[in-house]
Symmetry: C3
Subunit: 317 residues, 3 copies
């Protein structure tokens, strides 16, 4: 899509050279054919380092934009970006005359399964009744997709994975831009979800696709039922994530992290390798690895246990 | 159904004038063809104001009943009502020779979709594979129903809504009447769910239908994954409800209320416009608008933060 | 399967008498044709009482094994058992030329339903669109299976049950054995789920199958939406389990226990008859019956309320 068309669509002024924009991307990842945005003070420091072809930015930060990056001035870059995300959104499913499907002969597909276009299904894969396999999905050898599982388009599933009934892989993340009237505009998520090998996803668990790039669950990680994993999370190898845990967007877990039942993280934080978060622990800041944490606000689990004991004694009649 | 038949079905005595009862309804909403009940002291004050054709009531409150309302005396009005709710329940699906379906030509319906009788589907609606659209459902223009979504009968979906994979709209609320032996009897929910325009519902989120009337989600509200919204809730415009939140029955949220992840409300309370409930906040009483709350029991978020800091200092070794 | 084949599969030494092993089972339930294991100090005391045909055990506890039980020495009995569980796992679905199905004529089966082999469906059962009924499932008279429900193989559903949309009955429990490198190996769960009569299961609720034997929900118990019930739980009669509650594996609830919204239990504990756990209560130890508990760590609810009040006063400015 041409940059001038984009400007027109957003009712923004643009008189510079017209160029082709192929995709949207984040400040630091956008390349010379992609458009990015800066949504405020927090990210303004990264503007000089962007390699984007063009940027949506407020007047205030215009002077930070590198000279090779075209500028679209807007009062609300995040909102302009949300509007654009719809234009760049892939269709939820492609309607083609004849689907390309590369399905191993050894794969077993039960009835009432929907399989989209441009799908790769490996050896001995089992896809149980009612499952939905979107366009451009690949499923590695020996993986089992249980009944009524939904795998959205562009998801990549490794080998020997188990996706239990009614889990959802690759639904849109919960991201909106807001206008002055407090109305919310959907950001279409054009990234995907990657599950590496030996991953298990529990029943009715939901894993959101990334805005750009990928939400990733690394090899050997096991996720229990009714867990929420937000967009752009990066979950390390061999993690154990117990039922009803919620992991907010852009969280990074190292390897062999254990999240106890009903625990949670806020977004944009890191949990180090070999950490354990006890059941109900609420992680609101980054944590170094190798220790056991608990409570909300989060602390060392041993401190939380002591604290609770002291409180109980202190306030006993 | 005749009132004398109802009395007979419930093994209650009734020698008054026989009348036709068309539906069940609450004390203050029941009209002159509907039957209501009073389930105890809390609601007894409303008995004199009922406009119901008939009422299930204990002997104790008989004297409060207006003279135009027929009286069925029962020891456990709630239980009698539960029994009756089954009689008045609509079928889960109608079996008709030829379904009436008003589906716009521009709508796209994928395979393995079930669409019931008397359904209206607007322009450019997309219904993805495996979705269930019950009887008497309407879906407004441009809305997208994702794979394996279940929309129960009588639900009304507005325009430009997004219902993500495996969410459930209009399942029976969690309401039971109890007998002396501690056995629970299902109350069939004969109300519905209304989603206004621009509503988004996350994957594996559940929204229960009302006992009577409607559970309503107003225009522009966005609901994340794995959220529970109970029967008869009234969620205002442009609310943001983050993943794994639970909103108990008959709660009322004003406009632009934000509920953080894993937050919750008890039932029958009001949260004012432009309130924010921080992640994990547990709302156990009505709250005035425009402020930020947190903790459990709920308090101002700034007080909760101070409290946690003081506790940490006080009990530090 | 022969014991010598098992030893060979696990690369363990075994020179004793060869015998046929028919199944895996727990230390105290395994019979004279079954193989069991001891996963450490906690269970070692039960070794002398096993009636198993054979046992996987560390060298350390070999001397506790009864003389009629054959011994396979292994450094990690739990891991060896996990490997074996795959060998003994039933197929997720049987592929037979002609399915045996005993479906009452009065039952109503909607479109897009999958029904496996050796299934019994009682009088007036309703199975709604998109449901999955695995092999060897039985469903008692008058039960209603709502849209897109998944009932895994071997589940037993009683009479007059309601299984609401998108709930999952009998998915594998969240159990793994671990090696020295922190890798997790799936334990295939060969038990099942039993729902007795008059049980109601909410939308998007998940109930895991047992490792051995059964996860059981007794008659009259009502479970709300988005609840997780772990493997091998035993939930008593007429319990009420409110939305988003999590019950960890092998928990036992007595009769008429109430679990409030977002409450939880750790595993392997007992809650006595007629207990109530308030909303958000976190049960980390066994509790005697007939009382109301709350808070986390769990205490009497009245103590929790007092404690919160005192804390609020104490730390008020």
């Amino acid at each position: 899509m041409k940059l001038k068309e984009i400007a027109e669509f957003l009712s923004l002024e643009y008189n510079g050279e017209d160029i082709e924009i192929t995709a949207l991307n984040s400040l630091l990842r956008a390349n010379f054919t992609e458009l990015t945005y800066c949504d405020g003070e927090k990210n303004a420091k990264d503007i000089p380092n962007t390699g984007a072809a063009a940027i949506l930015v407020t007047k205030e930060y215009e002077n930070l934009v590198p000279k090779d990056t075209k500028v679209l001035i807007t009062q609300n870059p995040h909102l302009s970006f949300a509007f654009l995300s719809k234009l760049f959104a892939k269709p939820l499913f492609e309607q083609v005359k004849e689907k390309k499907q590369n399905i191993a002969k050894s794969a077993k597909i039960m009835p009432n399964v929907y399989i989209g276009n441009n799908v790769d299904i490996g050896e001995n894969v089992v896809i149980m009744a009612g499952a939905f396999i979107g366009d451009n999905v690949s499923i590695g050898d020996e993986s089992v997709i249980h009944p009524n599982v939904v795998i959205y388009n562009d998801s990549k599933i490794g080998k020997k994975c188990h996706l239990l009934a009614n889990c959802v892989i690759g639904s849109d993340g919960f991201g909106y831009a807001h206008n002055k009237n407090g109305e919310h505009y959907k950001i279409y998520h054009n990234g995907n979800v990657i599950l590496e090998d030996f991953v298990e996803i529990g029943a009715c668990t939901t894993i959101d696709r990334a805005v750009f790039d990928s939400t990733i669950i690394k090899a050997g990680t096991k996720v229990d039922n009714l867990v929420q994993i937000g967009h752009n999370c990066d979950i390390g190898q061999n993690c154990i994530i117990v039922a009803q845990t919620g992991i907010s967007g852009s969280s990074q877990l190292g390897r062999n992290v254990v999240m106890g039942g009903q625990s949670a993280t806020s977004g944009h934080l890191k949990i180090g390798d070999f950490s354990t978060i006890a059941a109900r622990g609420g992680v609101s800041k980054s944590l170094e690895g190798g220790r056991v944490y608990g409570g909300f606000p989060i602390m060392l689990q041993k401190d939380w246990l002591k604290l609770q004991a002291k409180i109980a004694i202190k306030f006993k009649e």
